[in-house]
Symmetry: C2
Subunit: 175 residues, 2 copies
């Protein structure tokens, strides 16, 4: 009997929190985003604290993370001192951008270590047989990394990107 319209909102907030944590992201960021996404108007930091039962510090840090991802926007309402936020409803673009950036960042972090492994090859202090095997494996890995990097670069950064539409079309055909 207590169940009312706020059920959907609350369900979505729980879903987002769950979903975010499933993807190794802060569940609170997910809850905040869902709260804004399910609110038909600007939301303040204190609204988040009250409605989600989280600390002000957490709200502040997570909302700024969402802001840097382009998932939420800050609004100017009247000339209120409060910060008002609204959700960027284009989830697909947000997700694509974040996925792509995350992959590129991780690959870039690994690249130097891979180069270094390649360098130590030159000394060839090992038995010639082993050295050859190592070189082969190393070459395989480098080729693989190159391929992955190219594939990542193809990922469109937005759902309105021309690439996105082409790929969507291809997918619907392949299916």
């Amino acid at each position: 009997m207590k169940k009312q319209q706020s059920d959907i909102k609350r369900d979505m907030i729980n879903l987002a929190g769950m979903g975010f944590s499933r993807f190794s992201l802060s569940p609170i960021a997910g809850q905040i985003y869902a709260l804004l996404y399910m609110s038909d108007g600007p939301v303040t930091l204190n609204d988040m604290v009250r409605e989600l039962g989280i600390s002000k510090g957490s709200a502040s840090m997570n909302i700024r993370a969402l802001e840097t991802w382009g998932a939420v926007r800050k609004l100017w309402v009247n000339s209120d001192r409060k910060d008002y936020y609204e959700a960027n409803p284009d989830i697909m673009t947000i997700a694509l951008k974040r996925f792509k950036e995350g992959m590129v960042k991780r690959l870039d972090e690994l690249a130097p270590a891979l180069e270094k492994a390649g360098d130590s090859d030159l000394k060839g202090g090992a038995a010639a047989k082993d050295a050859e095997f190592y070189r082969g494996r190393l070459a395989e890995i480098k080729k693989l990394m190159g391929g992955i990097r190219k594939a990542i670069e193809i990922i469109p950064e937005s759902a309105s990107d021309k690439k996105f539409r082409i790929i969507s079309k291809i997918i619907s055909v392949l299916k």
Copy 2:
């Protein structure tokens, strides 16, 4: 001066450990896989313990995880009681399969909660205006989930899959 052939191997092991942890996977699993990948013959559990300086428990648990991923194979050497392992060198197939399975699993976990959110909509205890807004947002999310699910299904499960070659070709053209 201490640096020798084993440098490449050790560098690769460190790289894999780093790489795995960057992708929220057990770094030890990465190290073990790299050890096998850089070994031109069967490797035992104790080899892993000795060469990587890890506990037997960890070696046992991680090698079985790698086995279930299809990243590693168990061998029968003579009729030795020891378990011998070798790496499946087809990293692309392993990664594709795991990525795809991981995505499907996570989506499946979220689906019931999404359905539940949809159900509570029926009550419509809220102001009609709000209810309409909620319904719209909910519909967007469901559409999004459907699209993502389809995209995931397109991912080939192996590098020798026909789909993989088609998509590779497409990528090289799009670039």
